[in-house]
């Protein structure tokens, strides 16, 4: 049980890109709540990442075709 507990916290810490001590306050949640939070964060991160990728694609598509690949490489898009 303790292992599940710490695994769930480690997973949340990874999702948020933080060391586990930064999410220690989430120990107040039970297993089901931590799992739901993990799913909600995943959902929100995916929506956010998709909206930024769409915006980047939209920006690149406005550039001449020949410039797109070097700009992608230069800026890591």
């Amino acid at each position: 049980m303790a292992q599940t507990h710490s695994t769930a916290l480690a997973s949340l810490a990874r999702q948020l890109g933080r060391p586990p001590r930064d999410v220690a306050f989430l120990e107040a949640l039970d297993d089901a709540a931590r799992q739901q939070l993990t799913r909600d964060i995943e959902h929100a991160q995916s929506l956010h990442a998709q909206s930024l990728r769409d915006a980047m694609e939209g920006a690149l598509n406005q550039l001449p075709r020949l410039l797109r690949i070097p700009i992608r490489t230069l800026f890591g898009l």
Binding site: L16, G17, A33, A44, Q62, G76
Partner: protein
């Protein structure tokens, strides 16, 4: 710190209704805020490398061209993310090239905590247009979030752009710093305060905001609010006192109740 305010802000970030976050009940307001900040930082950091490189490139080109790239190519979401990595003086110069619509769309994508230095440096005139646009679109959550991080003198100027008393309270429902809201409310004239109290009396949810704000006021201000409150409705204070009898906030409103 008000838990429902923080829950609303977190729910918005997670694209969920507040009811769907009942499972977070064991977390208090401070922990909800901590969670929201971690999430916002994670969003920004995930693409930080790209935006740092783009912002570095932006330093090498003239402002007018850079602004054209922002409005014509990058769009508001990318510009908001670029703003976190752009030197403040340059970001202010660029903002002066943007129209109100583009600034407003960019503000919708910004994390106010990360934009704090920019908010301090931006001329309030630029923010007026954004305030009007956000208000017209009823973007109370965004406005409330910015209210927490605007310098207070600018916040007061901008609050006066919000003419509807109920709308002011809806913005404050998303602001976590009720102490700042209290100081801003204290600077409004009696008629403006009366209008806010009357609006709150008509909507219980808004009255909650007035209560939270009153509790942050020093005794002399609470006494002034009591006088204005009696002007609006002489029965209001008594009704509120009875309603909040068992609420831990009541002792912090004693000057208002006993005036």
């Amino acid at each position: 710190m008000d838990r429902p305010t923080e829950l609303r802000r977190l729910a918005r970030l997670l694209h969920r209704d507040t009811d769907a976050l009942d499972y977070l009940a064991p977390l208090d307001a401070a922990h909800l805020m901590q969670l929201r900040r971690l999430l916002q930082e994670a969003f920004i950091e995930r693409f930080a490398g790209t935006f740092k490189r783009l912002a570095a490139g932006g330093r090498l080109i003239p402002d007018a061209l850079n602004a054209k790239l922002c409005t014509g190519v990058f769009g508001p979401a990318l510009t908001a993310n670029l703003s976190y990595f752009t030197p403040i003086d340059q970001a202010v110069r660029l903002a002066k090239h943007f129209d109100d619509d583009f600034l407003t769309d960019t503000a919708r994508h910004q994390v106010p905590e990360r934009a704090q230095a920019l908010l301090a440096a931006l001329p309030v005139e630029i923010m007026r247009g954004v305030t009007r646009k956000l208000l017209a679109a009823q973007e109370f959550a965004i406005m409330g979030g910015f209210t927490d991080y605007l310098p207070e003198d600018k916040a007061l100027v901008l609050v006066k752009e919000i003419h509807g008393p109920a709308e002011r309270l809806r913005v404050s429902a998303y602001a976590q710093r009720k102490d700042r809201i209290a100081r801003i409310m204290a600077q409004l004239d009696d008629d403006a305060v009366a209008a806010q109290i009357a609006a709150a009396a008509a909507e219980p949810e808004l009255m909650h905001e007035v209560v939270l704000t009153l509790a942050e006021m020093p005794a002399p201000e609470q006494q002034r609010m009591a006088r204005i409150s009696d002007r609006v409705d002489p029965a209001l204070r008594g009704a509120l006192k009875a309603q909040l009898a068992a609420d831990p906030i009541a002792p912090r409103m004693s000057a208002y109740f006993e005036a």
